[in-house]
Symmetry: C2
Subunit: 204 residues, 2 copies
């Protein structure tokens, strides 16, 4: 290694405290700390300390602990906190359709992207994938459900999750025809009412 | 190998033409012929010839080509033809609930059994798993749907399939709590109406 290529971490961090190297350091630290402590046990303070940066950088780059976990560790193609507020912005009785549209739009953009790998990981009991599952159900879906329905939010969240995972399987993994090639609006009309009933309707 | 252990295939088959060795020979032959010719291309006659037994043995042991494929090749824990007639036996407006009950009863009996492996295989584009998918959708689900709804049976069948695969994922693979431990009747009440709408209801 030549002298010119040798890293001088303190100096670089000192020069660009909010730069891409700070983000990368947070990603590395987050993977370690979430892996050691689990989602609940990990703190923003501990991750920032491990990365050697100020805890405010977590908010700056990731919008908080949820965003750091989702983007840095799980490499989700969306920010779950932003997603949550976008989904809740609109009439409650069309929430089911909005979820279907958003789900298919996000994943269609990369033709399913990491969805098959995610499913393989969950089926293989991979810890990161199981953390993702818990994270999405508890911190995204249950959060949505508890705002629109006080009745059994945990069961309603997992009913929604069952149809959403099934959509992903049908469209990106098993590729059921014609489901996998049907346009998003047709599927929003067909599947939206299912999620709507799971969210706010009669499930008895 | 001692002389006593040496197999004498012709003699054994000759002695017990309808016995377990005939069944085993059919299973082996079916795996080969379905693999070489695909589901549509394979014939009962060719499979029986490969096994060196009479074609009537396929009906005797497996009820026909579908049953041979499902039980011998895919090792499904049910006979799809028998399943089909059982599902259709009852009021049409409770078909959705019957499907949910049957699906969960069959798979719960083995605590999910081969479901996770099946999902891994489909996610890995394993040919046998893809054949299973085509077989279940075309020969079981579309068959059910086309008897109760003349409107877009293919789309309706894959909508049902999406929720059914999602149920299996939620209960046996990803194990979403509380979905994975909720009793069958509660889930039949919650998810049954979804399948019912996909089968016979308004999907626009």
């Amino acid at each position: 290694m030549s002298t010119a290529e040798q890293p001088t971490p303190g100096k670089r961090r000192g020069r660009r405290p909010g730069g891409q190297d700070t983000r990368a350091a947070l990603v590395t630290a987050a993977r370690e700390v979430f892996s050691e402590s689990g989602y609940e046990g990990a703190t923003v303070r501990a991750i920032a300390a491990r990365a050697g940066v100020d805890a405010a950088m977590v908010n700056h780059w990731f919008g908080g602990k949820e965003g750091l976990f989702a983007q840095a560790v799980l490499q989700l193609p969306f920010d779950p906190v932003e997603l949550l507020s976008q989904l809740l912005d609109g009439p409650v009785d069309e929430l089911g359709k909005r979820i279907v549209r958003r789900f298919l739009t996000v994943w269609d953009a990369t033709e399913g992207g990491a969805f098959p790998a995610l499913v393989r990981s969950i089926a293989s009991h991979d810890q990161a994938a199981l953390s993702l599952k818990d994270f999405l159900i508890r911190h995204v879906l249950e959060n949505v459900v508890s705002r629109v329905s006080p009745d059994r939010p945990e069961l309603r969240a997992t009913l929604c999750a069952s149809q959403m995972v099934g959509m992903g399987m049908a469209r990106y993994v098993a590729k059921f025809e014609p489901f996998s090639t049907t346009d998003i609006e047709t599927l929003a009309a067909a599947v939206g009412p299912t999620l709507q009933r799971y969210l706010t309707g009669d499930i008895d």
